[in-house]
């Protein structure tokens, strides 16, 4: 806490009032525009994924295998577009529509890999690969273990 006994700031506005002023002067996020764009971009990405699933089924794969193959392909495309420097442009436009699908996950792993390559492959890429995706992995895996255990208990 700032020492209140010393000379106070000369501004005649209290921090509480300043919070209100800040809200007033800070532009609100354009929610409708963002939602529409996320819908379009997310929809396109998922539709492409569906096309790949259909394609792999047509090649003779069973449904589950086709899904897995399509997911792998989408991850590859996300990584490729990140490497080409295109995915961040898509992300700027699409927001959550590009972050949430699995291509966004690929982007969140390839981006740090590219970034920290300069600090070496072990301490750079190796140590920092999951700086962005880390929480998703940690809490996703932890939750699945808890749910799996609960499932096991329920079926005893």
């Amino acid at each position: 806490m700032a020492d209140q006994s010393l000379r106070k700031p000369g501004i005649a506005v209290t921090p509480e009032k300043y919070q209100k002023l800040t809200q007033q002067y800070t532009p609100k996020p354009t929610i409708v525009k963002n939602v529409v764009r996320a819908f379009i971009v997310g929809g396109i990405i998922c539709s492409i994924g569906q096309l790949f699933i259909n394609f792999f089924i047509s090649l003779g794969l069973a449904r589950v295998e086709a899904s897995t193959a399509a997911t792998a392909t989408m991850i590859f495309l996300g990584a490729l577009l990140t490497g080409l420097g295109i995915y961040d442009e898509i992300g700027k436009f699409g927001g959550a529509g590009s972050i949430v699908p699995v291509t966004g996950f690929a982007n969140s792993i390839v981006a740090p890999a590219m970034e920290f390559r300069r600090e070496g492959y072990v301490m750079g890429v190796g140590a920092k690969l999951f700086t962005v995706a880390g929480p998703v992995l940690v809490y996703g895996i932890a939750t699945s273990i808890i749910v799996g255990f609960a499932y096991f208990l329920l079926h005893l």
């Binding site: 300043y18 919070q19 981006a111």
Partner: protein
Amino acid sequence: MNLKRVGNQTVVFANPPVILSSYSVVGPKEGQGPLGKTFNKVWEDGLHGEKSWEVAESKMLQEALQGAIDQASIQKEQIDFMLAGDLLNQITSSNFAARQMTLPFIGLYGACSTMALSIAVGSMLIDGGFARNILVGVSSHHDTAERQYRLPTEQGAQRAMSAQWTVTGSGSVLLSGSGEGPRVTSATIGRVIDYAVKDVNNMGAAMAPAVADTILNHFQDMHRKPVDYDLITSGDLGAIGLALACELLKQSGMDMGTRFTDCGVMIYDDSQDSHAGASGCGCSSVVFAGEIMQRIKVGELKQVMLVGSGALHSPTTALQGESIPGIGHAVVIEG
């Protein structure tokens, strides 16, 4: 002792140091902006053939520093101290630039207010009789700042509308106790002011109270008014921070009129999609070294106040739930 300090926070120089020269080097985005022609050198990309952005930023700072020396037609041996700073951890760009320059080095950190801070401290050293010539330079780089403070540069994330774009640029000036040129007549050292802004995407709001406080104290200490200056510009408040600072000053009884602007809103135009404007040490330094110095030299501006604005943001404490304190340092230049 003949105290040159007046009021609460201001120093008035008995023999105002001269700004012998200035030099600015910027990246492509800044070169494409409205002030593109005022910069001495524009790089074609942020990497400039170096092996990392950090190395590139240090190289840019060196070019700016050397440029100021060359423009002043002074020998490097005549420079007593080098004052420099940047945004990176351990001010590493400045450290490596200082290694190349081989001058006695004083590293400074004021976040984005480092240019104004360095000019103030450099002027104090000269007017105090501790130096004849001082080389001052700061730098910032969009990509080094992003990878340290925020996300990897290829990460597909949307920036908030209140976010500012870190300038890739380096500005340098050569201060001297003798010679001809615009003079630094006074400086007001700011206090850290924290108005509990926690939004790391709204640095302008974090800095505005500190800038307003420094401006108020400066005018109070100097018994002056905004009309006494031809231009008052903050370093990088951005559009939102500038509006908030104006409002804070108005509510504190000081109407800045139309002469209060911000380097962060001058350096990019709307088509460059910087959102709230520019930020970074480089912002105030390249706008000052280029546009402002040029306008002073042709006589268009006689009395200018540069208020460097710094958001003392630490990613560590921000994650711990702390707010972002701000600071503002003012220097007055007379043509």
